[in-house]
């Protein structure tokens, strides 16, 4: 039972354009959401997060949107750069206050940004 789903396994975007990566979840108890970026042969690195009390969080070129009623979040990258080419995982946790809960990860979306 996949509680966190990334339905697009891959996405190809031209440099300078917007990249939109989507993630859906099924568990209404999830309270905190994160995006990770992973290059080949490296571990995932934290990118951006959002608490369920917000619907938007922005950090430079990266913005995460949360639609709780639809149980959907998205990551926007504007403008996209070739260095953004990587696999992106969304993750969910039932806790915002304590890091004791394990994260549930999606299956990942491979983003390719071409010149």
């Amino acid at each position: 039972d996949q509680q966190v789903k990334q339905n697009s396994p891959s996405l190809s975007v031209q440099e300078g354009r917007i990249s939109i990566l989507n993630c859906d979840y099924t568990n209404s108890m999830f309270d905190y959401f994160l995006w990770y970026k992973k290059y080949p042969a490296e571990g995932p690195t934290f990118l951006i997060s959002i608490s369920s009390i917000k619907d938007k969080n922005e950090d430079g070129r990266f913005t995460v949107f949360l639609n709780k009623s639809a149980k959907h979040l998205s990551l926007h990258i504007v403008p996209s750069q070739p260095g953004d080419s990587a696999v992106y995982f969304c993750a969910a946790s039932p806790s915002t206050l304590y890091n004791t809960d394990k994260l549930i990860f999606g299956t990942g979306t491979r983003l390719q940004v071409f010149p």
Partner: protein, 115 residues
């Protein structure tokens, strides 16, 4: 910066061998996790630990065991390696923090091939 170090980047082992994957973190984190990453399946949790001597099963513990004798070290053990355990193994750690939640810090991963 928090550092999570996995002792081997690449390993090749034979079917039936006992395999040890080592993970060490240097920031006094209580919580440590072992995931495996497979194409199309994302990151799946194998085992985790909230403290020394403590361990909890994740979603796919079969064929694995763990050891946490010291706070900084969390070992994953493949009791009798099989070809379906060929994968990328990722260790992560995090400190419970009531002031915020920035997710895990991952190691660089161990690419294990069982032949």
């Amino acid at each position: 910066d928090v550092k999570v170090t996995q002792s081997s980047r690449y390993l090749v082992k034979r079917t039936g061998e006992k395999v040890f994957l080592e993970c060490v973190q240097d920031m006094d984190h209580e919580n440590m996790f072992w995931y495996r990453q497979d194409p199309g399946l994302g990151l799946r949790l194998i085992y985790f630990s909230y403290d020394v001597k403590m361990k909890e099963k994740g979603d796919i513990p079969e064929g694995y065991s763990v050891s946490r004798e010291k706070k900084e070290r969390f070992s994953l053990i493949l009791e009798s390696a099989s070809t379906n355990q060929t994968s990328m193994y990722l260790c992560a750690s995090v400190r419970p923090d009531a002031t915020g939640n920035y997710g895990y810090t991952f190691g660089s991963g161990t690419r294990l091939t069982v032949v």
